[in-house]
Symmetry: C2
Subunit: 340 residues, 2 copies
């Protein structure tokens, strides 16, 4: 052993990253909201790839579900390659990229600006290409992230979206934000040992499913990506509804299933799904308050992603090491992905 991985250290830095981001974004978020209102912006386009795209999924649920802005996840190639003849004069385009340097995200934002969109970004790099390309850069304060697998930049992106939604009037959310750093610290303490135990039971698996619904659907996607990129397990994230529309047929006794319990309106739905998966023989890893991989209790279902993602990250990091991979340097990946 040569000490903990960068990924493990950066997982532990998340409460501080979220606290610093919430603090830093107060003023720039207020400016963006003022301009949104002045320009009668009614819709949002989110432009991202990878973990940032999962943060964007979370942002979509908040901005549309709680703030009434019709929100689309952009297909970047429609802008960068196919020159979609869209009118974005009443739209806000937000690019999300931790490095701020992915060429196609910057190009897509420039295209959106050319079609009339107000532009913003969420990035962890203040001087990056994406920050320079937009009118409203929202710079997260996760600090330098050196593991290729994004952890603290991801939760900082969630914090940026939550901060924006709160400023747009999502009051339940606004009241809960301040408690997040402590709840995240508590969750890491609760989840670490059970995550290590659970990892040991999954070491020979090659596929898995991760399931959630509603505001925490983004965490199912992110948990699956972490398992893929660090532990080389073919994990796929689903909403419970999508899983029932076909993929559930592939669930066998060989399939581990991470079920993410966020409470809220879908609590019973996830409980039922867990029962269905167990009945099909799946090995369920239940994540949430009081579950096998426990978490602190979130203040509302909208903020559950901040705690739910932590056991999944801990599990992926441990599983990667058990399977002989270096989670800080997944095979074939670099920190800035140069897609065009």
């Amino acid at each position: 052993m040569t000490g903990p991985t960068r990924m493990r250290l950066e997982i532990a830095e998340q409460p501080a990253a979220v606290a610093a981001t919430l603090e830093a974004l107060g003023a720039p978020v207020a400016e963006l909201v003022a301009e949104l209102r002045a320009r009668s912006i009614a819709s949002v386009v989110l432009i991202a790839r990878g973990s940032s795209d999962h943060a964007a999924v979370y942002g979509r649920y908040l901005l549309e579900g709680r703030c009434g802005l019709v929100t689309a996840l952009a297909a970047p190639s429609l802008y960068t390659t196919y020159a979609a003849p869209v009118d974005l004069r009443h739209a806000l385009a937000i690019g999300v990229s931790q490095s701020g340097e992915t060429p196609e995200i910057v190009a897509a934002l420039r295209y959106a600006a050319g079609r009339g969109a107000l532009t913003a970004c969420i990035t962890n790099a203040g001087g990056s290409a994406i920050a320079r390309a937009v009118e409203h850069p929202l710079v997260t304060r996760a600090g330098d992230e050196r593991s290729v697998a994004a952890t603290k930049t991801f939760t900082a992106q969630l914090a940026a979206f939550a901060s924006l939604a709160a400023a747009l009037g999502a009051s339940t959310l606004a009241r809960g934000l301040a408690s997040l750093p402590d709840l995240m610290t508590e969750t890491i303490a609760i989840a670490e040992a059970p995550a290590a135990l659970a990892a040991a039971t999954l070491v020979d698996d090659d596929a898995a499913v991760c399931v959630a619904r509603g505001f925490s659907y983004a965490v199912a996607l992110e948990a699956a990506l972490k398992l893929k990129e660090t532990a080389a397990i073919w994990a796929e994230g689903f909403s419970s509804a999508d899983l029932r529309h076909g993929p559930t047929a592939a669930v066998t006794s060989a399939t581990p299933a991470l079920v993410l319990h966020a409470g809220g309106v879908f609590a019973d739905d996830l409980e039922r799904l867990e029962g269905e998966l167990r009945a099909r023989g799946a090995r369920v890893v239940s994540i949430g308050p009081g579950r096998r991989l426990g978490t602190a209790t979130p203040p509302c279902e909208e903020l559950a992603p901040f705690t739910l993602v932590l056991p999944a990250q801990l599990l992926a990091e441990r599983l990667a090491r058990l399977r002989g991979y270096d989670p800080d340097h997944p095979r074939g990946l670099r920190k800035v992905t140069e897609t065009h």
Copy 2:
């Protein structure tokens, strides 16, 4: 052997299903387009799950990329459960459901109508709940589909979207539509034997990736779902860009990769990706004109999905039988999925 499966028979019925759908939708599509223009509709929300959601992904690329309508794939729960306070008075909401009876899709459409949206649907069942719930039902003519795995209703849904895009002025598309049934017949003849050979090489696999980009991204998603629901293989569909943002780390010599070649602007990108996957040791199954699983040459990249999906369906059907599954009756699935 007791004769071919329903799925295999229905795969062969697709040229006729597409021809009949294009013929039948001329008038109702023209009426919808006239109302879109009269009401200055500038955006579209597509509401679907499962295979229908993949048809919606294709529709999104056409309607946004070629017709300039800003298009979002709805998160149904934002409408049915979270009562998102959105203003849809300048939006068209299209529900997509072959059976027309999935409760949450009907409920989401009713919600969108209540928020001001013009409503339409694409369904294979003229008298279904979804057809009765909307102002503009577009009824596909795939005939009765009895296999639980959707094939001909899927390509008929693609035809409905292509028909709508053509009527909205996508001229390249409009010129190519009439040739599709013959090209699909030709493709089935070309692809059947190679699909059987390829299936034999994948019989012991438990995971796979399916990759495409642009207009054919929807086929990567649909091919993966067919492999999951019929052959119980954990296949996941990616755009080539998304695969490079993390999941590629999980590609090993154990991973079969279906690469879908649609020609067009991303031809070189897919060629490069295929090389990268081979260099990582993946067993590539190359699909497209002149490839290992051949297809006829489509008239333009926008219409490549109609031919590309056929080898994938043939492969899934054959692989299901080789692995001891009945592709007409996947475990745990019914023809109408009762998600709420």
